[in-house]
Amino acid sequence: MFQQILFTQWKSFRLGLIPFVVVAFGLPLLAVQGLGPVPEGYEGARVALQALFDSWQFWLPWFPALAVTVGATAALNAWSWDHKTDHIYALSLPISRPRYAAWKMGAGALLVVVPALGLWLGALAAAASIDIPASVNTYPTALAVRFFLASLLAYSVFFALAAGTIRTTVIVLSSFVGMLVLTGIMTDYASAVVPGFAFNFSAWLVESLIEWPGPFEVFSGNWSLIDV
């Protein structure tokens, strides 16, 4: 059963996976392109290392962005055929809804591995193509694992959102956003009128989400191919 669910998702997503694999493979290579051999001496190594970090910094935002795109697309794809048929087929199958959703999610998660593998191979190729100073190491596997985890997290969030009808999703999202906006307004107002009370809700929220141990830390953590 799981094999067949995996096959249907593979069949509906396989063409969509190709551009993601190409971009995931090419991104690490793009990030290190144009870097020459490391010159002799401390200063030369320092300059080369700086050039490497600068180039990586320029391309760095593309990695989490690609991970989110991969995860979201895989999640939307996982439900697309069911949405097209108003979930009637899925609901008529002799399987409990939680089990069906779990297996569907598992199948989609396996497909997310494919772009991560592409990125891993690209990172290995990029690491092999550059000349790095002696004290510096490359971490292609760690980068690929981070990319996979970020994709998986994005996939999980979008999978949950896409599981319901568009109406349900809109209600859930708008309620959530509305609640955040309302809380922000209330804390801003309280900060203005209550003496000694100062609280920036938005900053706190972002920090709580993307900094350790926030659930989305994987997007903001260390995406380096090269490190000391």
Partner: protein
């Protein structure tokens, strides 16, 4: 005889304007039960309640002796379902669809399913998304019967199909039923189609069951009478008057459509000083139309 499907006082509200209210339904095991109703009368909603796709707000539903919705996976494993609109995954081929579907059913008959693919001229390599409505209809029937179900629930399975495909579809169903004694619950607004092979009939209108009885009783019990000097009141009549129409306002002659008619009932008219000039059989479609006409609140009993 136990019932394959049983609904007791089931209620469900869909939106602001439509409600299924206190719906009782009893589909005997082994029966071919025709579920009749006009478009929008609640047939598909009822079927989705039976299939556990919608949750009833009140009442009790049992299918094959199990409880809806608690025992759904088990019930669905024993039930073949053909929905009103084709619901299959468009990107799969027929062969892939069979394999996908088969993986959910322990009694799936793979050999027979491929025989049916040949018999119904489907082609295992055809993509579902590129198939015609008729071909999809045949594939849905194939999927429903190749899992060897004890119960087949068919929601307007032949709606929009050409006569040849319609015959193929119904033949496949009847062939399966004749070998397995499975129960069939088939909804349709194509009354004449059900007349040929259903042995039970239920009529639903505006979310309410109008009548439920064996097909023979339905067909033989609904008559059109030509009555001379008809009585004004019919409260004590031993039958149900569905409709009465003036033939000509200048003469005391009316056409009555009645349910539950038996020949000795002519005595009722004789006692009332009336004469039954003619008793005519109605086919299922005419009976269905008259039943619906009489069940609607706006009906005053006198048609024009």
């Amino acid at each position: 005889m136990s019932n394959a499907i049983e609904l007791n006082k089931v209620t469900y509200t869909a939106g602001k304007s439509f409600q299924i209210s206190d719906l009782n339904l009893h589909v005997p095991e082994g029966a071919i039960y025709g579920f009749l109703g006009a478009n929008g009368s609640g047939k598909t909603t009822t079927i989705r309640l039976i299939m556990g796709m919608l949750r009833a707000e009140g009442g009790h539903i049992s299918v094959l002796g199990e409880n809806v919705p608690n025992d759904m996976p088990s019930i669905l494993g024993r039930t073949g379902y053909v929905p009103e609109h084709p619901h299959l995954y468009p990107g799969l081929t027929v062969g892939e669809t069979l394999r996908y579907h088969a993986s959910f059913y322990k009694d799936w008959d793979a050999e027979w399913s491929y025989e049916l693919v040949e018999a119904l001229h489907l082609g295992a390599r055809r993509k579902v998304g590129q198939m015609s409505k008729g071909e999809k209809g045949k594939l849905l029937i194939l999927l429903a019967i190749a899992q060897r179900p004890e119960l087949l629930i068919l929601d307007e399975p032949t709606d929009g199909l050409d006569p040849v495909v319609r015959r193929d579809v119904l033949t496949a169903v009847l062939d399966y039923v004749s070998h397995t004694k499975a129960t069939v619950f088939i909804s349709s607004h194509l009354v004449h189609e059900l007349e040929r092979f259903c042995d039970w009939v239920g009529v639903v209108d505006d979310g309410t069951l109008v009548i439920e009885l064996p097909m023979e009783d339905f067909k033989s019990g609904i008559k059109r009478l030509k009555v001379q000097n008809p009585p004004a009141e019919t409260d004590d009549a031993p039958f149900v008057v569905l409709n009465r129409t003036f033939i000509d306002r200048r003469i005391p002659m009316e056409t009555w459509v009645v349910r539950g008619w038996r020949d000795p009932m002519t005595q009722y008219f004789e006692r009332a000083g009336a004469t039954v000039c003619d008793v005519m059989d109605l086919d299922l479609e005419e009976g269905f139309v008259e039943l619906l006409r009489s069940s609607r609140p706006s009906s005053n009993g006198y048609g024009e």
